[in-house]
Amino acid sequence: MSDVIKIQYLSFAYNSNYILENINLTVEKNDFVGIIGPNGGGKTTLLKLIMGFITPQKGSVEVLGNAPEKSISKIGYVPQFNQTDKQFPIKTIDVVTMGLSNSKSFFPWNKAEELNNVFEAMEFVKVSELSHKPFGELSGGQQQRCLIARSLVSKPEILILDEPTASVDSNVELDIYELLKKLNKEMTILLVSHDVGFISSYINKVACVNKEISLHKKEEISFDKISHEAYHGDFSMISHKCNL
């Protein structure tokens, strides 16, 4: 049972328009999978299927040997950060604490022992000193670190990140990837990214998603070529390489 994620013969359509068609994907323990592909190619849909936000019309998804809904508490998720309201009155520590929430989060306070996980996670991503600042006032990189901390407080087995570095500068990007490299020793990571060249030294598999999926082991592909192509947004060449 070392398969962390197992997708078999899966198809998903919005309004009879197939986004993903007859895909198979197996992710093993401690994999670091880079997910690439054109916009609208189904990357985000794939993540949503794995997290059980949506259910496929055909085929199956298994996460840690169960249906996605049952394993959801073992998944840490880092969304594209620019989705949150900058003016929302919330302190950074409260955003990170959200990672502990569930349907039984009653009353306005958290248990003290739960908060230890929060401090630990904030320490790990080096945002402890920001804990009482308003979340909306942090820089893009700081916010992204906090969202990673939020996904870590529940001690997940799988970490899923949707373009975590889309709007941060390259120094911050490097920092975040170094952080993920450390985390990869303990957990399986799936990361959607535009520039696979940048992450090439961290990942061990690449999934090219464009209605279909083709999974490559790191050794099988030339990263220089893919990264060059990805930077220029010329995905048809990648697709060609992936035989899609």
Binding site: M51, F53, I72, S73, I75, Y77, P79, Q83, T84, D85, Q87, F88, P89, I90, K91, D94, V95, M98, G99, S101, N102, S103, S105, F106, F107, P108, N110, P134, R150, S154
Partner: protein, 276 residues
């Protein structure tokens, strides 16, 4: 001031008006905060106007209009919540429909009621001087209901408002929390019916909390500041209306509007100072 005090101690309707202002501020400060951060003022406006239907039917049946309003409020919150969650693309149309159809039902039933009752106007535009002791008890009970719900679900409300998708991932019952929030808002509107009326309620629900947001970094601070501001505005509006003999609901809303403008400028000046 002495004169005002003697008026307060001598006339029970003045006492009732001031207590009504205080009771309104609790419900309105809590709900207004969530209306502002979740950006659902149009939806709240829809619920407020739909409630006219409940008032009209209650008039026609000869029961206390506030109970009719309460029933209609909860039903329209459930209706809007369910439709929003089930068919997302039609939300806007549905709110508009509920908005005007509710009002039409209310007007037709009011028209059919023998001996047309002018009091309907006081529910549309509010008349804080007509609040009865019975209404005060109902308002207190509704305040308690709202406060208890918020106390229990405080964190879940914040999480769902801040990041719906992540809340869902954490196993929070997002749809339940969302509908619960709409119910709280609709109950609040019933509390505010006699203070500022259904038509004007949206300003009292959004503006004080928008001011509060400029000066707070947590939701509970925002609620607290909203409650205090609403107390100040309703009292100022009431005093203005009492001394000039102008309609109380409109006076309160004018006080809110002036307060919002002033805070807006103060906030901008403070922000510029912070930058330089």
């Amino acid at each position: 001031m002495n004169e005002l005090f003697s008026i307060f101690s001598n006339y029970s309707f003045v006492q009732n008006a001031i207590i009504a202002g205080l009771l309104s501020s609790v419900a309105c400060g809590i709900s207004g905060t969530f209306v502002v951060v979740k950006k659902i003022s149009y939806l709240s406006g829809g619920i407020a106007h739909a409630i006219v239907g409940g008032l009209g039917i209650a008039y026609f049946l000869g029961i206390n209009p506030l109970y009719g309003a309460l029933a209609f409020a909860v039903v329209s919150a459930l209706l809007i919540g369910t439709v929003k969650l089930k068919m997302k693309q039609n939300e806007d149309t549905l709110i508009s429909a509920l908005w005007s159809v509710g009002m039409s039902i209310g007007l037709i039933f009011a028209y059919l009621t023998p001996g047309y009752n002018v009091n309907l106007l006081s529910y549309l535009f509010g008349n804080i001087l007509l609040v009865s002791s019975e209404s005060l008890w109902l308002m207190s009970a509704l305040d308690v209901v709202i406060a208890v719900i918020i106390f229990i679900f405080y964190r879940q409300f914040i999480y769902v408002c801040f990041d719906e998708e992540y809340s869902y991932l954490r196993g929070i019952k997002v749809e339940f929390i969302y509908i619960l929030l709409l119910i709280i808002i609709s109950i609040t509107i019933v509390v505010l019916v006699q203070t500022v009326g259904l038509i004007l309620v949206i300003a009292l629900l959004t503006l004080p909390s928008s001011i509060a947001r400029m000066f707070s970094n947590t939701i509970w601070k925002m609620i607290l500041i909203s409650v205090v501001l609403i107390q100040i505005f309703t009292f100022a509006g009431f005093v203005f209306s009492f001394s000039t003999n102008l309609p109380s609901g409109a006076s309160i809303i004018l006080a809110v509007g002036v307060g919002y403008l002033i805070s807006f400028f103060i906030h901008n000046i403070l922000r510029k100072k912070k930058i330089t």
